[in-house]
Symmetry: C2
Subunit: 314 residues, 2 copies
């Protein structure tokens, strides 16, 4: 397969990252998956000058072509072995359901001393699926950048996606602290804040902040999609009142989200149970027309919003 070299995008330091120094951390970085997250990481690495060369691995020819023509990657291939051979860093950036299979496929081709990381929204299942395939002398640092949009594919990627957002690392007891520190350094240089967490705890926090909200958004948009023709058209026409925000969330990549729910079932079902109880209580309050209870419920939620604004994540 010919490997055309894409013109390197000349991306200078942005305003938000003006003081970034350019330190090459990796000679060769391989991305397995060049979607929104993979492409954004590649562009953020270029912005900070972290990699001498970047190779992307994608099954679809269109994805490879787009990633090359946009200067996201220097090389593109459909072959896992080709991609990871000689790479100092391998980033698995595909839906989490594929990660075990990918780890198995690349295992024999990983360079001694290389670091393998991922970007999965679920961590315990990824650790369980990937870790057994990591050979001795290769370091696995599980990671999850908490950032994204409802758009998919390399054309949706942008270097600023991780600026001031959190990336959570969930290193295993046997992960080399040096490798973990290097990945943390990489994320900081890409604009992110970094925190460490236990995989299981990560999965509970994300079940609340991300997985349940997405499940609810998908469900309510589905409820609307089931409405009769006229009413459905009106819902679309008059969506600018709350519903619109749900449709944006519910436009997120279906395969990615299918895999998240399949791989974080216990935490999602637990938090869904709590939510359903609370919603039933709210339903009763409305049925009883309990003005005081409604006002109290609606007032205390403002405090959480204030916390998010103070934490500069709004």
């Amino acid at each position: 397969m010919p490997k055309p070299r894409a013109k390197l995008a000349k991306i200078g330091p942005t305003k938000s990252g003006a003081a970034r120094t350019k330190t090459v951390l990796f000679d060769r970085v391989a991305f397995i998956g060049i979607g929104l997250i993979g492409a954004s990481m590649a562009l953020a690495m270029r912005r900070a000058g972290l990699a001498r060369s970047i190779v992307g691995c994608a099954r679809r020819p269109k994805t490879r072509k787009t990633a090359l023509s946009l200067g996201v990657v220097d090389e593109a291939t459909a072959d896992y072995a080709d991609a990871v051979t000689g790479a100092d860093l391998v980033v698995i950036a595909t839906p989490v359901g594929t990660n075990g299979m990918i780890a198995k496929a690349i295992s024999a081709h990983l360079k001694p001393g290389a670091i393998v990381t991922d970007v999965g929204s679920v961590k315990q299942a990824v650790v369980d699926a990937v870790a057994p395939h990591i050979p001795k002398g290769v370091h696995f640092v599980p990671a999850h950048p908490i950032a994204g949009t409802e758009h998919s594919g390399p054309e949706a990627g942008f270097a600023e996606l991780f600026d001031r957002r959190w990336t959570i690392l969930t290193p295993l007891p046997r992960t080399s602290p040096k490798a973990t520190a290097k990945i943390a350094d990489m994320w900081r240089k890409m604009g992110a804040n970094v925190a460490n967490m236990q995989p299981e705890h990560h999965d509970m926090v994300l079940a609340i902040t991300s997985h349940l909200p997405h499940l609810i958004a998908y469900t309510i948009v589905g409820t609307a999609a089931d409405l009769g023709g006229d009413l459905k058209q009106e819902v679309i026409k008059y969506s600018a009142s709350g519903f619109r925000d749900f449709t944006r969330i519910a436009a997120s990549d279906p395969i990615m989200w299918r895999d998240i729910f399949l791989n974080n079932r216990d935490a999602v079902l637990e938090i869904l149970q709590r939510f359903t109880e609370d919603l039933t209580a709210m339903q009763r309050v409305i049925r009883k027309a309990d003005a005081k209870a409604l006002e109290e419920s609606f007032t205390r939620t403002r405090a959480i919003r204030c916390g998010i604004i103070e934490a500069k994540q709004a």
Copy 2:
């Protein structure tokens, strides 16, 4: 009470409304309530030159002071009679639960030939509460501009709030078509699209597009607020993944929303029942780890989002 004249803000036509012609539709407009919607309407009226003078009625001295100092209104008063006396147009822009009481209080002071309108997110209950107090010779045109933000008060108002958004009119059989046409003309000149609907049908459409999404957002943020200390702090810290959007919706004005749920109970409970059934089905699909069903659910919701983007309401 002294009535200081505020300096008229010199707001020229904006880019989005460059071609607007300035036609005075009303000599004197009275706003009962100068919150986000009332203030935005006053500013949009000024932008289009629709009113010679605008008076605002608010209970709180701080609200009156802010509205005057920002040039939202020319006069401010706490007295309903003072406000509506001599007004050609009276806009009731307070939480819907107060509308009946306000209609009763202003009834005797309305000028013959005047138009009364409102901005309530619920229409049948407002019609039932207000219409009986409208004297013969005065025209009542119920209206609902589908626009807003999570912010409250006159300082949150801005002239562009209604640009390209829908305002729904729900005229009664006995409402003068001429008065309805004038209010439609006013909204169009303020940048909005205008549609007519039956009050009851409006309430069902809005239960889906607005009231249920708000109820869910309030509930999920409440579920998070009930979490233990550490977990709650982490939810705030790592909110940039779906939850954040819910907290924005759940930061909306509590009194306004309390009144909406009290006044649109039947439609909200009906659509909530459908949603709960769909959520239970989704829960079962996750528990059974039904990959195909999850993928199908998550794929079809994208079509609704595309519809909203096509309808230019995204």
